[in-house]
């Protein structure tokens, strides 16, 4: 694929995302026309007196806008994390949760819910334990395998299993009327509680991670040939590996603490992005972010568009992601992946 073709495809992808964003703002119980949406946004810039009902403004700015923006950020973050981990581990079956971040975050969130903590504290606990889980996996790999990738994956499985067991203990202890349903619902993921504050919390961490991955994009690309070959191509493997793990973990942890568990996005979207722009990592991260945002927003729109049933986001991504992954298996059979 030439550079021109790449930019044309990327441009179409992000144009599609913008169009979907505008369309998404009008979806929901309250009817908001495109011109009204534009007027409400413009009124914030030029101070024009509102002619619309204040409820509509609240729905647009405090409910729909943060939810849509978060869908894009979370979808993009999980996809880029997945693409980064898959490249690092040379494994197309790897997802952002490989080092235990989701299991740790789930335990943290459940612990906070058990103690009736506030939503803000639940997010903090989820984030904190997500990082602790990855750090533990990293330390195990360092102690026993000198950062060998296979040992790191095994350490991630061990830590995920440990936090999974601890989560089960918390569920057993939880009050079945309040805490247990809350934990169960959180584990299924949702964008419904997203707020502007969440965006402000997520953006700096996301930008910092994306910046690091962008700076080292060609070194990360070389890691897909294996650590030894990457070293002979001039890559400081230990540094670049740490950058990938730090950035991908930070993005995943911050996403999970805001939305709960959203599966499949980080596993499936990078493969779709490879079909679109190829496997080269510098191109892959740009396409993965846009495609991840677009797909998660589309799925959330479907959820919002089904009247009377508020299906959890994680359930919906799994329902859609599983059949798509079956399609990829046919690609594997043809020797493409």
């Amino acid at each position: 694929m030439t550079i021109g073709q790449f930019y044309a495809r990327l441009g179409l992808l992000y144009l599609g995302l913008v169009v979907l964003c505008i369309f998404s703002l009008s979806i929901g119980r309250y009817d908001l026309s495109t011109s009204l949406i534009l007027d409400i946004f413009l009124s914030k810039l030029n101070g024009v007196a509102p002619y619309w009902d204040a409820t509509l403004e609240t729905v647009l700015l405090d409910v729909r806008f943060p939810r849509i923006f978060l869908a894009i950020l979370v979808g993009g973050a999980l996809s880029v994390s997945g693409a980064s981990y898959q490249t690092l581990f040379k494994n197309p079956m790897v997802s952002p949760t490989i080092l235990g971040v989701s299991a740790g975050a789930s335990f943290g969130a459940a612990l906070a819910m058990l103690h009736n903590e506030t939503w803000w504290q639940i997010q903090f606990y989820a984030f904190f334990f997500g990082l602790i889980a990855v750090l533990a996996a990293y330390m195990i790999a360092w102690l026993f395998g000198r950062h060998e990738l296979t040992v790191m994956i095994l350490a991630g499985i061990i830590i995920s299993s440990l936090f999974g067991a601890l989560l089960s203990v918390l569920k057993l202890l939880a009050d079945t009327d309040n805490a247990l349903p809350a934990i169960t619902f959180w584990l299924m993921g949702s964008l419904g509680r997203g707020s502007t504050r969440d965006i402000l919390v997520m953006l700096p961490a996301l930008l910092c991670s994306l910046f690091l991955l962008f700076i080292f994009r060609y070194q990360i690309n070389a890691l897909s040939a294996g650590e030894e070959e990457a070293t002979t191509l001039g890559v400081n493997v230990r540094l670049v590996k740490s950058v990938v793990i730090f950035s991908a973990t930070l993005m995943t942890a911050i996403s999970v603490c805001i939305t709960g568990i959203v599966g499949w996005v980080g596993l499936v979207i990078p493969h779709m992005a490879r079909i679109l722009v190829g496997a080269s990592y510098p191109r892959l991260i740009a396409a993965s972010f846009g495609l991840g945002g677009l797909c998660l927003l589309l799925i959330d729109n479907i959820i919002r568009g089904i009247p009377g049933v508020d299906l959890p986001l994680g359930v919906m991504t799994s329902l859609i992601g599983a059949p798509i992954f079956v399609l990829f298996l046919t690609r594997i059979r043809r020797g493409w992946l």
Binding site: T87, P92, A225, E229, G278, A279, L337
Partner: protein, 265 residues
């Protein structure tokens, strides 16, 4: 150009993998490392490539100490072709060869027009321009080997190291790869390779270093070093060197023949 002096390596002090390995190589020459499996050839290459840290000795390339330089600087000095290379994702040949330009990229920057020109020139030199947009995974074993050699050449390093470059290839692709290595040396590239076939050393090598149990067993010009006695001593198998005249090529060619129904005295 390359000077290796008393290189030693061990994982545990009581079991040395390499002991006092020394040799030197001039610009434009091909040096072939011969030895049985597990004798330390690949370990020696890994020491030179910075993948393993030698426990003793030194190695200099163009007067620069190889063991003390950064990975990036070393990659500008030495390029490497492994026994086999796998890319688990659908990289095109052009993208795979572009990886060879990595040591020349500035911090955080993308490949420049010069890098793209170098990749195109390398593909042309190798005669694989038609493969540029094919997926690496979908190539045959011989084509993949050519692409990995192209990636190493795109590094524009002073020394090319190949680890058993023909081990997984069929007869035709072995000959194609050997021909290419010979051509690269004639163009002024300096080549260090390992092989399990002494015949290949006769075909392309100026110098041969035989390694046995981690030490240099014999070293010198290929026709002086590859003898019946040295082959028998190196591999523990009775083998003879025979010279045969190839009329169509107008020259004598030496081949090594293992004697299967006898044991070395």
């Amino acid at each position: 150009m390359l000077s290796v002096r008393n290189i030693g390596f061990h994982y545990r002090p009581e079991k040395e993998i390499l002991k006092d390995v020394s040799f030197s190589l001039r610009k434009g020459e091909v040096l072939c490392l011969l030895g049985s499996n597990g004798t330390g050839k690949t370990t020696l290459l890994k020491c030179l490539l910075g993948l393993l840290r030698p426990s003793s000795g030194e190695a200099q390339l163009l007067g620069e100490n190889l063991l003390g330089v950064s990975a990036k600087k070393r990659a500008k000095m030495i390029s490497y072709v492994p026994q086999s290379s796998a890319l688990n994702f659908p990289y095109t040949v052009q993208e795979a060869v572009m990886m060879g330009r990595l040591p020349h990229l500035g911090f955080g920057s993308s490949p420049t027009a010069k890098d793209h020109r170098e990749v195109e020139a390398t593909l042309e030199e190798m005669g694989i321009t038609d493969l540029a947009q094919r997926y690496f995974q979908q190539l045959s074993g011989g084509e993949k080997q050519l692409v990995i050699i192209a990636r190493a050449l795109a590094q524009r390093a002073s020394l090319l190291i190949l680890d058993e470059p023909t081990s997984s290839l069929d007869f035709f692709n072995q000959a194609r790869t050997l021909k290419l290595i010979k051509k690269l040396a004639q163009q002024g590239n300096t080549v260090l390779l390992t092989t399990h076939s002494p015949d290949q050393a006769f075909l392309i090598a100026d110098q041969v270093v035989m390694i046995k149990n981690g030490s240099v067993f014999a070293c010198g010009r290929s026709d002086e070093v590859i003898t019946d006695d040295n082959l028998t001593g190196l591999y523990g198998l009775h083998a003879v060197v025979s010279s045969t005249s190839v009329i169509s090529a107008g020259k004598n060619v030496k081949v090594c023949i293992p004697i299967l129904d006898s044991t070395p005295s």
